[in-house]
């Protein structure tokens, strides 16, 4: 006869679930509010979302490092806390961008905000677990919400983007399931720490290498899709173009942070086991991604597509740090995204405020370069701010991304990958060209049309967000030190 299973409430350590539950509860509250009174304005929902995220932020901060909970599937270690904090901060910056002066209809639906909060809960589950099944559930929750958010933008190319992203996402979900299945078949477990234990004992068995190889390839393909690495990046520019500008900026940061955390857990395990070609493949993917995405960004005619390719290139840059598998390498991933978040969201927000319902400059694109020609004469401060963001993205010191860049390069040099640091340096030089192209259009050309403004969409909350991003970009030199020491402490505490 089976023994009855006793589970005590303390052993569940439910506090580890609190952050996600807060986000989900927030989503439900918004839906219920809509049920009671369906004439509420979007500003209410935006503020409610921010408030729920603030509570969420507090709950994450209150967690203890290195705890497990809920039948040991939740893992609260250093990287799960810092990545959750970054996800929440990124979301808090993103959501006020809904308060534009022009009306975009997706924000009038409370569902938008509910889905947004569900998506955040999904990302939080992804980063706060080392159970492949829970990671999968988190990933799919977040992705399905994100597809819908894109489609809500309600233009034909938004539908195209959503369907494209959905198809690619479904494919990568399939790869993830197959990869996990192979891992399970090899080790009899889906918990990564147990998988690592079993694999460590079995790694020398003849004939097993092919299966380990297979599992890592399948998982690598999944995360290459999610992180938009070459050659699995083809969806990214179209999806960014179809999504609204802030959502595109958001997609280039927050989902990638979540995916990077899972990638660190999975591929860090493979590299620690001594499966050296995982490292080689990651390096190869990283170098190809940053180089080819840079080359493709050179020939884009639309600023948003250029920024999409540039985000791909930045992701490749960071992917290289993943292959190093050192504490510094992992710190550099978070440092880079922490700094990139402000600048990139700022740059996409600048596109957002220049968005017009009609394509006034080009039949094909929303944000062609011509639109920004002579920007300095029309809107000097806007041009200066956009110029700052571009210089920061190009890695010109002392702006934020420069510090992330040298930290990544230093990590590469420290691990003996000097060639990698040189490739990164040369890529930064290539990238400088397309960022400069926009600066040249803004500062050195004359306006192509007689327009008085291209800020059709400006409002006070947007100005506040852009101001915050500008301050964070310019003043990076003053907060890099505390940021590095916090990240280093958290990451080394969890043993990465």
């Amino acid at each position: 006869m089976l023994e009855p299973i006793n589970v005590s409430l303390e052993s569940l350590n439910l506090i580890t679930l609190a952050p996600m539950l807060i986000a989900i509860a927030g989503g439900l509250i918004i839906l219920v509010l809509d049920l009671i009174n369906n004439k509420l304005d979007k500003s209410l929902y935006v503020m409610l979302t921010i408030l729920m995220l603030v509570v969420d932020f507090g709950a994450v901060l209150g967690l203890n490092v290195n705890e497990r909970g809920f039948f040991d599937v939740m893992l609260i270690d250093g990287i799960s806390i810092i990545s959750q904090l970054m996800i929440i901060v990124g979301s808090i910056i993103f959501i006020p961008l809904a308060l534009t002066s022009k009306r975009f209809h997706e924000y009038s639906y409370p569902e938008f905000f509910a889905l947004f909060l569900f998506m955040i809960a999904g990302f939080q589950f992804m980063v706060a677990s080392d159970n492949l099944i829970l990671i999968f559930v988190g990933l799919e929750t977040a992705s399905l919400s994100l597809y819908t958010l894109i489609a809500l933008h309600n233009r034909s190319n938004s539908y195209e983007a959503a369907v494209k992203y959905f198809t690619m996402g479904a494919l990568s979900a399939g790869f993830f399931a197959m990869g996990s299945a192979v891992v399970y078949a090899l080790t009899g477990s889906v918990e990564l720490y147990k998988v690592a234990e079993v694999l460590a004992t079995r790694i020398d068995e003849p004939g097993l290498m092919i299966a380990i190889f297979g599992s890592s390839v399948l998982l690598l393909v999944t995360f290459s899709f999610k992180l938009s690495l070459f050659p699995f990046h083809t969806w990214a520019p179209d999806v960014y173009e179809g999504a609204s500008a802030p959502l595109a900026g958001y997609m280039s940061v927050v989902p990638k942070v979540a995916a990077f955390v899972v990638a660190i857990r999975i591929f860090g395990m493979y590299i620690d086991l001594g499966v050296e070609w995982v490292r080689i493949m990651i390096l190869l993917l990283a170098v190809l991604t940053m180089t080819l995405a840079n080359l493709m960004a050179l020939v884009q005619e639309d600023v948003k597509r250029m920024l999409a390719y540039s985000s791909i290139s930045h992701a490749g840059f960071i992917m290289a740090a993943l292959a190093l598998d050192t504490t510094e390498g992992t710190v550099s991933i978070f440092l880079y995204y922490g700094l990139f978040m402000f600048t990139n969201l700022g740059a996409f927000a600048m596109l957002w405020i220049s968005r017009h319902k009609n394509r006034r400059f080009n039949a094909r694109y929303d944000h062609p370069y011509e639109k920004f020609a002579g920007f300095i004469h029309i809107m000097p401060i806007g041009a200066m701010i956009m110029g700052l963001f571009m210089l920061s993205l190009a890695g010109v010191p002392p702006f934020s991304i420069f510090w992330g860049k040298i930290y990544v390069m230093q990590a590469a040099v420290n691990s003996g990958y000097i060639w990698l640091a040189i490739v990164m340096g040369l890529n930064s030089a290539i990238a400088a060209y397309y960022y400069l192209k926009l600066i040249v259009y803004m500062f050195l050309k004359d306006p192509v049309k007689d327009v008085d403004t291209i800020y059709y969409n400006l409002s006070k909350p947007l100005m506040a967000v852009i101001g915050l991003a500008t301050v964070a970009t310019v003043g990076a030199i003053f907060y890099v030190q505390p940021l590095i020491s916090y990240l280093y402490y958290m990451i080394s505490a969890s043993g990465y």
Binding site: A421, G425, L436, Q481, I484
Partner: protein, 508 residues
């Protein structure tokens, strides 16, 4: 004022920010006043500078990112002191003589930010802070060339930016590797140049690091074969842009060699003497010949700039007190003379909107003052004794003679070829009858132009006759550096080449 270096950096930056508020009509006066105050601050630095102390003075150190070894670390010695004064002077004079009327306010603000970055490069003692100002200096220059330049300005400005940016990123990798080596040996992160000086590196490391830094500096100098961006930049830039570019920005490259490459990698530097000397001689002779073939006066001066930068490079790699002191002095003299020549070309361009020599001829009869000043500057550029150009060139050749007499003779031909192309310019432009009707009514130098050029003429003659007050502090610091390099060198060949004992006192 112990923190005068910070004041020198941030005064123009704050002035630039406040400049946004100043009214368009008054922007010019504002800029000149600010630049004058900055110049007086730099003079203050000079007069309170202890010329007998060869080490770093006015040192400031504030840790910025201690976990990563980055600190706000400034200092000045005899090598950088006069470049700072020269940069402040040329910014002031450039602004005074500026003839731009379009978007003057933007130009003034850009120049003030550029001045900040120039000050920063020459006083930074932390590699990352140095790199920061080094890269930041590209942005204002990009804007100056791109917004006020000639027809090909966008191409020229982007070429300028990308060339330098690519080179300096390789230098950045070198810096990061240097910090890594330092961390390995000491267990501490540091980007302080003075900490790096203390490292004795194996020769193989030195060679690789030397190569990495070489790319950054050589593109900036610009050394043959990386010089192709310069004629475009000069050709398209407005007068003020060319003045600052030639006078100060190019000096960043040669200054980098003196500040970084030599003391940090003495053995590699000695091993590299011959290859670099060959490149320098190619630079000197080839670009001088190219200069002779130009039709445009400004291009002649641009190529002559490259040629003179070759002399500076040669002096740096002479590895003795005469050569290096002469190089540093030549940096100052080239800054003043080429700056003045670009201003003079600007004067005639403002009147005729052409710089082609074939358009002119006989200008001496209608513009006597202009012809005299042009003549003096041209002689200084060629290196006529008793002008500023002679001192540096002579010391450099004297210094390099101890390395290789043959190469010195080859380099010495620069004086002859230089005289040929410069005098050819002078003959075609100023002598003979006035052939072009348009030139008959040209006005001579006006008050503004005269008063911005006269101080430069005075300096050219003063330092040509009596260079001691400048040479002495330079020489002190250079000798201290050479003593240090000799101690640090690990190969005997390097110790033999680095000659310390001789002095330049009484050299003139």
């Amino acid at each position: 004022m112990d923190n005068i270096l910070s004041v020198l950096i941030f005064f123009p930056a704050i002035a630039g920010l406040l400049g946004f508020v100043v009214d368009k009509e008054s922007a010019r006066a504002y800029g000149i006043t600010v630049a004058a105050i900055e110049f007086f601050l730099s003079l203050w630095l000079w007069f309170s500078f202890d010329a007998t102390n060869a080490g770093m003075q006015y040192v400031e150190m504030i840790p910025l990112i201690p976990d990563f070894g980055v600190s706000y670390y400034l200092g000045v010695d005899g090598i950088s002191l006069f470049i700072i004064v020269m940069a402040a002077l040329m910014t002031l004079i450039g602004m005074m003589s500026m003839s731009i009327t379009k978007n003057v306010k933007n130009m003034i603000i850009t120049l003030l930010f550029l001045e900040m970055t120039m000050m920063g490069v020459f006083v930074a003692l932390d590699a990352i802070i140095f790199y920061l100002f080094w890269e930041l200096s590209l942005v204002p220059m990009l804007y100056i060339i791109g917004a006020w330049g000639g027809p090909l300005r966008v191409y020229a400005s982007i070429k300028f930016f990308l060339y330098t940016f690519a080179g300096s990123l390789i230098m950045l990798v070198g810096m990061l590797f240097m910090a890594y080596v330092y961390h390995n040996l000491t267990g501490v992160w540091s980007f302080a140049i003075t900490d790096w000086y203390a490292l004795v590196l194996p020769v193989e490391y030195q060679l690789w690091l030397f190569a990495a830094f070489f790319f950054g500096f050589a593109i900036k100098v610009p050394m043959f074969p990386f010089h192709t961006w310069l004629p475009y930049a000069h050709g398209q830039a407005p007068t003020i842009g060319s003045v600052i570019l030639a006078a100060v920005l190019l000096k960043m490259g040669t200054y980098g060699f003196v500040r970084f490459s030599l003391p940090m990698f003495p053995d590699a530097s000695v091993m590299m003497i011959t290859p670099i000397a060959i490149l320098a001689i190619i630079m000197i002779i080839y670009t001088a010949m190219v200069a002779y073939a130009q039709k445009d006066i400004k291009q002649v001066i641009a190529y002559s700039s490259v040629s003179h930068m070759g002399i500076i490079m040669l002096g740096i790699f002479a590895m003795n007190a005469e050569g290096i002191s002469g190089s540093v002095f030549q940096m100052l003299s080239h800054g003043i003379v080429s700056g003045a020549l670009f201003m003079l070309v600007g004067v005639i361009y403002d009147r005729r909107h052409t710089k082609l020599m074939s358009e002119f001829g006989g200008l001496a009869t209608v513009m006597p003052k202009y012809a005299v000043i042009f003549g003096i500057m041209l002689m200084a550029s060629v290196g006529l004794p008793l002008t500023i150009g002679f001192v540096g060139e002579f010391l450099v050749l004297l210094g390099f003679y101890q390395i290789s007499p043959i190469m010195t003779i080859l380099a010495g031909t620069s004086i002859i070829i230089g005289a040929i192309y410069m005098l050819a310019v002078y003959k075609k432009t100023f002598f003979g009858p006035i052939t072009n009707e348009a030139n008959k009514t040209l006005k001579d130098l006006d008050r503004k132009e005269t008063w911005s050029l006269i101080p430069l003429v005075l300096i050219v003659v003063w330092l040509g006759v009596y260079p001691k007050p400048i040479l002495e502090p330079i020489d002190n610091s250079v000798k201290a550096m050479l003593v240090f390099m000799e101690e640090k060198a690990i190969t005997q060949e390097a110790k033999d080449v680095i000659i310390v004992a001789k002095s330049t006192e009484g050299g003139i």
